[in-house]
Symmetry: C2
DNA sequence: CACTGGTTGACACTGAGTGTCACCGATAGC
DNA sequence: GCTATCGGTGACACTCAGTGTCAACCAGTG
């Protein structure tokens, strides 16, 4: 019972097919727009069958969103690894930096990522799917934050809202980044966005629970 | 060129059909779950044709989301009407109270609204669509907030993020309200949620713009 | 009565997504 | 070397969402 991603013999092939599909899809979608491209177009470009596409991706949206959203576990891990005494705003900033770091370090990935971000923000269906993914992140971040503050996430709105504010900051960064010019600005944009929510993230944990 | 909702002769009929469709849809969806109900089921229950359904609602999701999300204009109007000197947290709290006021005043509507909220929060596709609608609200709220603070929404992340935080508060209220017991708690939940984001909403407008 | 504007149902169509099955290639056991 | 098996694949048929089209209908109006 091997659980994926272990032996290179067949798994390499799988990855190759997935990459081929993803590359073909992103190229077509980015140039023609989301609605103007059918799955048939994608598989034709990749030289595979329709059925195969859906074996690798749950939906047409999935190809695009997965490209940005596969790093959920890393974010939580990073947050859990931050020192407990660190202010939430700093810990969250570091955690959400994880998915952005790859773009920041590898400009060749960055360009493609920016195209995908633009595509997501411009396409209602994709934007919705992206937000859906963010909801999962928010729940996981909230659980970890509740753990940090030793509060009950069912009675205290803080964890959920703090997670939401952090993701709002990320969203704002992405929205301001995509038309941009220089990757180095990413860190600066994050700082600006987190500066706005920091007063709420780091407010003393008093009175607001009660209820 | 009358723009809908003026003469009662034909418009009443339209509204009647829309209500019939909506009622049938909500009843089925709430009891059987979103994915288990097809549009055919809905129109069969309402005694109309499939095609008619799509003349009134853009999609199956639309029936549900529109039930909660048709009040965008009222929210903006309320925000614009708040005194300019009022802190953003207070003004936004009042603005977002508008759609909730109806539920609070009419318990018979409240019960149905709560069912719809539960349905939306439980269904990924609906939740995403709901957030998509919120994005529009956020943009409109942000524009109004930028107007209030006399800042440029393109360089200052505050307006967009403040709007996002307010909607996050609303989201949190809805999430904590639906399993609840008493409608009067709505106001209290709003107060709690806004207390969390208030420190950021009302922070002095300094340094964070720059860039 | 004929005319007009708006609504409706029936039908056909595209496209997403799923289930099924036969096939193919590689590996394991004889 | 032959065969059983197993994962992946393509072909096909199917459901369902959503759209375009058209003929029929039902006011109100000349």
């Amino acid at each position: 019972m091997r659980s994926r991603a272990d032996n290179s013999l067949a798994e390499r092939k799988r990855q190759l097919v997935a990459d081929e599909l993803r590359d073909a899809a992103l190229m077509l979608l980015a140039t023609k727009g989301f609605d103007a491209v059918t799955v048939d177009d994608i598989v034709a470009a990749a030289g595979m069958s329709r059925r195969t596409f859906f074996r690798y991706f749950a939906s047409k949206e999935d190809v695009v969103v997965r490209f940005l959203a596969d790093t959920s576990a890393d974010i939580i891990t990073e947050l859990a690894a931050r020192p407990p005494a660190e202010p939430p705003s700093v810990a969250l900033r570091h955690a959400l930096w994880v998915p952005l770091a790859a773009c920041n370090d590898h400009p060749e990935h960055s360009e493609r990522a920016r195209v995908v971000v633009r595509l997501i923000l411009d396409t209602a269906a994709l934007h919705a799917r992206w937000l859906e993914r963010q909801i999962e992140w928010r729940a996981e971040l909230a659980a970890e934050l509740a753990n940090r503050r030793r509060v009950d996430p069912h009675t205290d709105p803080y964890p959920r809202m703090a997670a939401g504010m952090a993701l709002l900051a990320l969203d704002t960064v992405l929205q301001r980044w995509q038309p941009g010019d220089d990757e180095q600005h990413l860190a600066e944009l994050m700082d600006q966005a987190f500066a706005v929510v920091a007063p709420a993230l780091d407010a003393p944990a008093a009175s607001q629970a009660a209820g």
